[in-house]
Symmetry: C2
Subunit: 326 residues, 2 copies
């Protein structure tokens, strides 16, 4: 009786490769496919149903790609993604991928091999070319070129609200502070656009400070440059694009004798502080993290179940939470 | 040619069940096994090698069971566990399991089915009966009855150091504050034992406050009871078993007009604040989270590779970090 092992031996490939040829998986090279088909013909092999059954077995794993689980925004997102997946009997694979596009590309590759059913990704790595349409992928914040669903918060309006709240708090010389804008950060940078538009509408000057995305101590010289600049003396309110950066800014400002909120008001973005256990309790734009997480998962499950993919942009509303910095 | 499908039909079971019988998996009921073996004999079925190959394929997944990824200690642990696993080509499944023992039991069950290669668990659920020896499991903090390796920090000495540092800061009426001790929390409660021993050795009184592990607002009445107790007036220093609880205590104390460090010194435990971005910057006992994570993973991989299991207790040293609360 001809066996799949014999086919593999004759073709000079692994048993798994023979199985993939039988099941028409796209990942097999044409040259390899021809070798296998020739071997099958040669010994008149009849594929066994078991092989097909195992391959067809649906994976119940979803991979979550995010920069780092250590950031409170991402750990909260991961928490609700895992919870929503669990309600649908899916399991979550966690991948920290900041600066490691090869890790993300691995997961896109194994989508084809049915080792994961789908992917939720929040990524700022340059992986455009790995993302093809019709894959079960939902992106958070990032707009991929192909028709991939994206879940994000209402970043443009978040920026507008930040300006309005600073203005309400008496600010007349507002400034924006955030990491350098790139096309990859598109959604996140809409916050600045909203902020600047709202400032223009109120006839306010708009100071704009962009700094590189660096770790802690490497960031300080850049903050110092801003805090000591002549132009900065007029600034009485800052919208900082991200709560962690806002806290870092406030701390560095204090070292320059600048006090928040007495000298300068601050509004952050994210809402990572759940309560006022720690000071400063940031006034901030709160992202609806739980809703983003559960929406992303429900969308992904629909795609895994075969609902047609099209580029949907799901914008979820943000809210302002007043803390001690305005 | 007899096929596995025919065997399944005759026995009245699924193809997967037939395969498990062929591969001698322990999860099949005796009654079912007999039905399948009878069907195999009846049609003279010869098992196909492919079925065996698929089952024998080694899983490269490790499951991490922790109460919640939202707590900074656990998210930092998860980060380093994922990173160390990645270095060894393993992938990480994340499971939030606080109060949900059924989720953890699921993962113990699937260990047998080769869907995960091993488990790292930090759990305070009552799952003793599900943990059998000789499974590829490494526990963090929790001592299971059977011979399971455990990685933990030097909790007893951590408690001693906490007392010594409070004493150095001038404290003469120290108190312990933590969640109610249970056998499940054994390692964590060693901190109190160390604290009390050190206090006795210095001839100091030892006030002892234990409260239930509740969420935020439900905790406040218990903190209020402590803060207003007659005995508490003498207390000039508190070792709080956990940084989050320490912050909550400090906040509630402030509402009672008690200021830290002016009126009462505080030492926490964990080291969840990575820098002094937020106040109060706790004086605390820092757990070597990265080392705990990487040690746990390396131990687990050894077990997965067949190194004999025995109860090893790996205690990693802690350090005191002075902040603004002593």
């Amino acid at each position: 009786m001809a066996s799949i092992k014999e086919v593999a031996d004759i073709a000079g490939v692994a048993v798994g490769t023979v199985s993939r040829v039988i099941n028409n998986h796209p990942s097999v090279k044409q040259e390899t496919r021809e070798k296998v088909l020739a071997a099958i013909k040669e010994i008149n092999y009849v594929p066994n149903e078991v092989a097909r059954n195992f391959k067809m077995q649906k994976s119940m794993m979803i991979a979550l790609l995010l920069p780092t689980i250590r950031h409170p925004f991402f750990s909260e997102l991961a928490y609700y993604i895992e919870d929503e997946l669990d309600r649908h009997d899916y399991k979550l694979i966690l991948c920290n991928s900041k600066g490691k596009p090869e890790k993300e590309i691995y997961y896109f590759d194994i989508l084809n091999q049915n080792k994961v059913a789908g992917i939720v990704a929040i990524t700022y790595n340059d992986i455009e070319h790995s993302v093809v349409k019709d894959i079960p992928l939902v992106s958070i914040d990032r707009h991929f070129k192909d028709e991939i669903s994206c879940v994000t918060s209402d970043n443009y309006n978040g920026g507008r609200i930040a300006l309005q709240e600073l203005h309400k708090a008496g600010v007349r010389h507002p400034a924006y502070l955030g990491y350098i804008a790139t096309s990859i950060r598109g959604e996140v940078d809409l916050r600045k656009v909203g902020f600047m538009d709202a400032a223009k509408e109120l006839g306010l000057p708009q100071a704009d400070y962009e700094i590189p995305d660096l770790d802690e101590d490497l960031l300080n010289p850049h903050l110092d440059q801003i805090l000591t600049a002549a132009q900065y003396k007029e600034v009485d309110g800052v919208f900082v694009n991200g709560d962690m950066l806002a806290a870092r800014y406030i701390k560095r400002a204090r070292e320059h004798g600048i006090h928040v909120p007495e000298d300068v008001k601050v509004v952050g973005y994210d809402g990572i502080q759940k309560d006022d256990l720690f000071y400063p309790f940031l006034s901030t734009i709160v992202q609806p993290v739980e809703e983003m997480a559960r929406t992303a998962v429900r969308l992904l499950i629909q795609k895994v179940d075969g609902v047609e993919l099209h580029k949907d942009l799901y914008r979820l509303p943000v809210t302002f939470r007043k803390g001690g910095t305005t």
